[in-house]
Symmetry: C2
Subunit: 184 residues, 2 copies
Amino acid sequence: MDTYEEITVKRDTLFKGRIVSLHVDEVKLPNGKMSTREIVEHPGAVAIIAITDQDKMIMVEQYRKPLERSLVEIPAGKLEKGENPLTCAKRELGEETGYTCESMELLTSFYTSPGFSDELLHVYLAKGLKKESELHLDEDEFVDLLEVSYEEAQQFMKEQKILDAKTIYAVQYWQLARTMESKV
Amino acid sequence: MDTYEEITVKRDTLFKGRIVSLHVDEVKLPNGKMSTREIVEHPGAVAIIAITDQDKMIMVEQYRKPLERSLVEIPAGKLEKGENPLTCAKRELGEETGYTCESMELLTSFYTSPGFSDELLHVYLAKGLKKESELHLDEDEFVDLLEVSYEEAQQFMKEQKILDAKTIYAVQYWQLARTMESKV
């Protein structure tokens, strides 16, 4: 149902950056009135749920400038131009954690904030993890690697050290998987 | 652990809009090198998980200009300046769906995209729902109200009609609640 489609009358591109671009669209609404829409264009990203044989989820702690604080998150990274999400997920897992995996399964994809941004995040489940090497971070990337038990993850959520959509999804996924298992 | 703090040397504010503002910060990295951070400032938002006595989740279908398509989502809206999130959640539930509720419980809060935005989303669970009135939408807001069964929600996810973080969290929450119940 796209009957409420908003017709673009004019687009002003106010910024083209390394990561995001900003557009302000003048739109014609279904009732014929005009309005504006502020749109943040993003290349899209991947995130990886990786649980070791010791039942620890691999996470990274890093400083997030928009929040002026650090968060504990699952490994993630943005897509390079034209990059396949699966390729990106394997690359980011290696670069941020030093782990490789035997298989990666797409669990879900979601728009992080469809009201103002087109960022689409693909969440993969990595299986058959092997610690291969040291991290290979981008030169402006500083992260601490953590291996987090289920109980620690719950505690990090209480303490709001885990406080972002993809990681809260990942911990909820973990809880669901454990609940299913315990039913069997 | 904020040892990786990035010191702001200079902030350029390139845009101040109705919904978002855009800043480009020049930052000093932990290794002393300089970099830039593109930051989208957002007032924050709320979303409401509302399940009726008939075990249907209340959702809205609306056109999302950044995606140039419509999505099926749980009711949500952004915070007015200085607005309390709980007040906002009750207001948005009424405005977007015409329902009131006896109680609202904060389930979780999460940053939708901490890499480039400070948007914090608060997710509430509404209980004791009553259909009170017609919708009172903003004049540039056009939504269709849906009451979605669990099976329909799963189908909408397969069809990618449900494709945003808060709604996928909500359906996962529903799945977890049903799994827990069925265990008892």
